[in-house]
């Protein structure tokens, strides 16, 4: 398909997953991401790639199916929304602890608890600061368009296999439900080769392979933690991604990802019509976070407003980045309410310019 098609973000994830040569999808329906499972089950996959699609009995089961599939060296995917992702946290920690690659998509809705089915960005802490237990990190990608929803599927798998670590696409109900035009990459075949670490059955010519996150000897566990730490350091150095929009002459900065970054671009137009020079810094990887690149902006701008559909989560990383050199504040609606471009401009004036 070389031409543009019109698709919902959720559908784009599903189609991109098929084309990326995904071996298995395991998931459980939840609004606002159910279109992923719907699309995959209607896609006649037996005629396309033979990808397995299974509706698990729960999210807990789904993430453990990912563990099994990944252990066999397969490309495995699940999608859910906040409440389901919470149920998966144990499995995500186990996969990080077993160095297993997988792709997890969180189409975020308002929380805490069952919350609402409308879009939110309140799972930032959960994705970037753990969520599950133990010293691990989750590579977290934040798309801002339906095209990026599609593109980040193959990027996510590449990073997951390169570093043998779970990768999360952190998006929200607005991007999941909205349609934009999208162009897909050509179909990639499913891989016939297994990675060297995969448990595909012992042959006489090699040692047994164990995949486990259990290590009862503290000395061994610490050696493993040191190895993980070095891996996370390497990821932090090599994989930071971000975009700067209208920053060249900016006096002020919005820092926003996903849906909020789109709305901020409209706010930039409104503010610039009033003579306020504001730009946008859009982190694309939320972990690793672009601390250094945001720090570099402190030489230029007088203040930063972190715009998120949450009570203020990413703002903590923005504050860490700037080391109190410029004023940083947060603005965001919550509970499934999406802030308007006008509200953001008003907040910039009140909290940063006037404050």
């Amino acid at each position: 398909m070389e031409e543009y098609v019109l698709m919902k973000g959720n559908e784009a994830i599903a189609e991109a997953a098929i084309r990326a040569g995904t071996d298995g999808y395991f998931g459980y329906p939840i609004t606002p991401q159910s279109e992923v499972l719907e699309y995959l089950t209607a896609a006649r996959l037996h005629e396309r790639t033979g990808m397995v699609v299974l509706q698990a009995e729960s999210e807990v089961a789904a993430i453990n199916m990912l563990y099994g599939g990944a252990g066999a060296g397969k490309k495995v995917l699940t999608t859910s929304s906040g409440p389901g992702i919470s149920l998966m946290q144990e499995g995500i920690s186990y996969m990080a602890g077993s160095e297993l690659p997988c792709l997890i998509v969180n189409v975020v809705r308002g929380g805490p608890g069952l919350g609402t089915i409308q879009p939110a960005q309140s799972d930032y802490f959960q994705s970037t600061k753990g969520g599950g237990h133990g010293d691990y990190r989750l590579i977290t990608l934040a798309p801002a368009s339906v095209q990026e929803m599609a593109d980040f599927v193959s990027l996510g798998f590449d990073l997951a296999f390169k570093y043998r670590n779970p990768v999360m696409i952190l998006t929200d109900g607005a991007l999941g439900q909205m349609m934009e035009k999208v162009k897909f990459k050509p179909q990639q075949p499913r891989s016939k080769k297994s990675p060297h670490w995969a448990t595909t059955g012992k042959t006489p010519d090699r040692e047994r392979i164990f995949i486990t996150s259990l290590n009862l000897d503290p000395a061994c566990q610490e050696r493993f933690n040191i190895k993980l730490k070095a891996k996370y350091k390497e990821i932090s150095e090599k994989e930071v991604r971000y975009e700067k929009i209208e920053c060249d002459d900016a006096d002020y900065l919005f820092v926003a990802y996903g849906t909020s970054s789109r709305i901020c671009q409209k706010s930039i137009q409104l503010a610039r019509n009033e003579g306020i020079k504001v730009g946008l810094f859009r982190p694309i990887t939320l972990w690793p976070f672009p601390y250094k690149e945001i720090m570099e902006m402190t030489g230029q701008v007088k203040g930063m407003l972190s715009v998120e559909m949450s009570a203020g989560q990413m703002v903590e990383d923005v504050k860490l980045a700037v080391e109190a050199k410029v004023k940083v504040d947060h603005y965001g609606r919550m509970g499934g309410i999406v802030h308007s471009p006008e509200e953001i401009v008003k907040a910039l004036k009140q909290k940063i310019i006037g404050g």
Binding site: L6, T31, Q177, M179, K181, I263, S340
Partner: protein
């Protein structure tokens, strides 16, 4: 050119599909498009609306509060969105679905009696295409062939035999749209 549109009515009136056909027509002419639905637990009979943006440039926010055009298909939507039209903007409504007529005097207002007209067509499901025809008469956004291509892309193949009746409905809408009040 950027056109920011809200289409609002009941679920089942074809609100979302009208928006999708508009978007696909734009894609056929190389435009940037976005389609942002209100989504919720409600299905047929509940309120439904969709924000459609068509532009020559990259679209920033898919979520907006003011609109160049509102296509209004029931009274609740008139109450909600009449005030959200930009001054100088366009309001098109189904005259058969409205009790209270619009009151703004700083916008262009047209009516299409689409519910009534749809009963005269082969299927009343052409209602949304009659409204779309009216809109395309006032705002000459696309070539008709782009709209027909958009229809083909939007409809599953099993419904492609209904394309001629939908095209007929678009033409009907173009014929029956009535000016209520214009500012220029």
């Amino acid at each position: 050119m950027t056109e920011e549109i809200i289409i609002a009515g009941f679920g089942g009136q074809g609100v979302l599909s009208m928006g999708k056909i508009l978007c696909y027509s734009g894609v056929m002419e190389g435009q940037e498009v976005s389609w942002m639905p209100s989504y919720g637990p409600e299905m047929r009979g509940g309120t439904a609306n969709v924000t459609v943006i068509l532009s020559d440039k990259m679209i920033s926010s898919p979520i907006i509060n003011t609109y160049d055009t509102a296509i209004i298909l029931n009274q609740q939507s008139m109450d909600k969105f009449e005030s959200a039209i930009k001054p100088g903007g366009l309001l098109i409504y189904d005259g058969n679905s409205i009790i209270r007529h619009p009151e703004r005097d700083d916008i262009n207002i047209y009516r299409v009696d689409a519910t009534e007209e749809a009963t005269k067509m082969e299927t009343t499901k052409t209602f949304n295409m009659i409204m779309l025809g009216g809109y395309l008469k006032v705002k000459k956004l696309f070539k008709l062939e782009s709209v027909i291509k958009g229809l083909k892309k939007s409809l599953p193949e099993r419904y492609h035999h209904l394309i001629p009746v939908n095209v007929k409905a678009i033409h009907r809408g173009m014929e029956i749209i009535k000016e209520v009040a214009t500012i220029s």
